[in-house]
């Protein structure tokens, strides 16, 4: 490739002032593998689940026994004892009132899933690549019409201490629309989560990726609804592709952006932080199929479209009923008929 694409780094404090230009890290050209991202996301999403189960002894805290046959009652175990309405009632079965449920849920259900490290890394690489494609980000639902450039890299965003300041910066760089979208999307959760401390749901807004684990930004973003922040050294597929959908709107800090080549490596060097990780190779080096089809190399060897006449034959018309059909098979027939008619006339 003659020139690698270049991303402008903007100065966070000013409004739109260009700080420098950085070459696009190789991760952004990784293949966008929705299948891997979906798979990894679906599995890793299960890892913050808390177990639920019914009590171990639920439904079994009786000394119930079946009365056996010969007593004109069903053979279900019945509660022992007397002197109360509960006595002789059916117990234990899932069909019995106050019985144990069918297949009582157990806490040793396999709640968590492990995913191969390489798959996880490929997924994150794909997700990052997707954040660099404006159409994918818009398709995911983010309002980025007024954003200068995607990926959006801001220098000096890590130093921000105040939420108000951060909000200011986000507004200056066109993220306000997305934040508004999130604010408008706050709804009561449907379902029982509503009274289990998950009362409201809201959409996902921008994700800020910073480099320094102890930067001031970590507290500035917390109170802005929809905004998440993540360290570039601890990138999370669940944050980069929420719901398994690629293309989250990401705002990079300059340090984080520049660190990407060191973390993921390039196509010529393996990653340092992700030790030994090399970016996935593309299935197709030239993915623009229509360009390939239109190219001279292909068009030069094509023959013009041939219409196979055998496949496009008309419905058979009876030549003895249709003059047109007879004309095609026997042009002489008309003449012959004519001669016969004339002969008959002459005869009479």
């Amino acid at each position: 490739m003659a020139d690698t694409p270049v991303i402008t780094v903007y100065d966070a404090q000013s409004s739109g002032e260009v700080k420098e230009s950085v070459a696009l890290p190789a991760v952004f050209t990784a293949p966008i593998r929705l299948d891997i991202v979906r798979f990894v996301h679906d599995n890793l999403n299960k890892n913050h689940r808390q177990p639920y189960a019914v009590s171990l002894w639920a439904g079994h805290q009786h000394s119930a026994e079946s009365w056996g046959t010969g007593r004109a009652v069903s053979r279900i175990p019945r509660v022992s004892g007397s002197g109360t309405g509960r006595a002789a009632q059916g117990a234990f079965g899932n069909m019995c009132r106050s019985g144990r449920m069918f297949a009582p849920t157990k806490i040793w259900r396999r709640w968590h899933r492990r995913v191969n490290i390489k798959q996880k890394r490929h997924a994150v690489a794909s997700a990052i690549a997707a954040t660099g494609v404006p159409s994918l980000v818009m398709a995911r639902g983010h309002q980025i019409e007024n954003v200068n450039e995607v990926p959006l890299v801001l220098d000096g965003i890590e130093k921000v201490e105040r939420t108000k300041e951060l909000l200011d910066i986000l507004t200056k760089y066109g993220a306000k629309d997305d934040l508004e979208r999130v604010e408008k999307s706050v709804h009561l959760r449907a379902g029982k989560g509503k009274y289990r401390n998950r009362r409201y749901t809201l959409k996902k807004g921008p994700l800020i990726i910073y480099e320094d684990k102890n930067c001031a930004l970590r507290r500035a973003y917390r109170n802005i609804p929809g905004v998440d922040a993540v360290s570039v050294h601890e990138l999370n597929i669940l944050k980069l592709a929420p719901g398994g959908t690629l293309g989250r709107f990401v705002i990079w800090s300059a340090a984080a952006f520049k660190a990407l080549d060191n973390i993921f490596g390039t196509y010529s060097t393996p990653g340092v932080e992700k030790k030994g990780y090399t970016l996935q190779r593309h299935m197709m080096t030239q993915a623009d199929v229509s360009a390939i089809a239109k190219s001279d190399a292909v068009q030069g060897v094509l023959r013009p479209i041939k219409i196979d006449e055998d496949e496009h034959h008309p419905k058979k018309q009876n030549p003895y009923r249709s003059k047109r059909a007879m004309e095609k098979l026997n042009p002489f027939f008309k003449l012959k008929k004519r001669f016969e008619i004339l002969k008959n006339r002459r005869g009479h």
């Binding site: 239109k294 055998d310 008309p314 095609k328 098979l329 042009p331 002489f332």
Partner: protein, 243 residues
């Protein structure tokens, strides 16, 4: 004042347009050529058909003359044994003995009321003898064959049953034998010409309707008043009812 520049057309689009134009031109040229060819072919077909008719009439006249001469001289004249047989399957597919089944398959008489033309020689005569109760056969006239080819003519093209609707189809398949129109096909079949096999094979078996007015009764031979077996020239009457 802004100078209005011609809108730049991308190179690939230019190339695409020129390619399409070239293809269109080639196609119109091909159409013109095809039309000219078609007119010439129609004229050729007309001339050939006239010739075939003349030949046929001449041969009929010759036969009549021979018969007349024989009658006048109290002599005998036997018509030459017909070269072509038309066989029609009149019995269905159930309870068919294996030998009969395989012979009928060789004759392409796999379906009820299907008709095929067969060369008349010792080999086929013996085969027909074995399957007589399942078919009726006879000696078709030129007119019958003509009607079959025109109305029920389908070609076996690339293993598909394609209707015969144009002489161009015949020329494409049989042009190398100098058979270029439907009348050529009919003549070749009726007179059992040198390329009878190729012509017959090009035709799909004739799928006829059940006869208007019905069969007499299929359980006995034609000679006994029924329907199966050799009915010589009377096959023509039957075919006209089944066409």
């Amino acid at each position: 004042m802004v100078k209005k520049e011609a809108k730049k057309v991308p190179e690939s689009l230019q190339k695409l347009r020129s390619r399409i134009a070239a293809n269109e031109a080639a196609r119109t040229e091909a159409k013109v050529q095809a039309e000219q060819y078609r007119v010439a072919a129609a004229q050729e077909a007309l001339e050939r058909s006239e010739k075939h008719l003349k030949d046929y009439v001449a041969s009929q006249v010759l036969n009549q003359d021979n018969q007349q001469t024989a009658n006048e001289n109290r002599d005998f004249w036997v018509e030459p044994e017909p070269k072509v047989i038309l066989a029609i399957r009149i019995k269905g597919i159930n309870r068919c003995p294996p030998k009969v089944r395989s012979i009928l398959k060789l004759f392409r008489l796999i379906q009820l009321h299907s008709a095929v033309l067969i060369k008349n020689n010792k080999a086929t005569k013996n085969m027909l003898k074995l399957v007589e109760p399942w078919i009726t056969y006879g000696y078709p006239s030129r007119e019958t064959i003509q009607k079959l080819v025109y109305k029920r003519g389908y070609l076996k093209l690339n293993k598909n049953r394609i209707p015969l609707y144009d002489n161009a189809q015949i020329e494409k398949e049989l042009g190398k034998f100098k058979i270029v129109c439907a009348e050529d096909v009919v003549t070749e079949l009726a007179t059992c010409g040198p390329h009878f096999k190729e012509v017959n094979n090009l035709l799909w078996r004739f799928k006829l309707s059940s006869p208007k007015g019905g069969f007499s009764h299929k359980r006995t031979s034609y000679i006994q008043g029924g329907d199966w077996g050799n009915r010589e020239k009377k096959i023509n009457n039957l075919v006209l009812r089944m066409l």
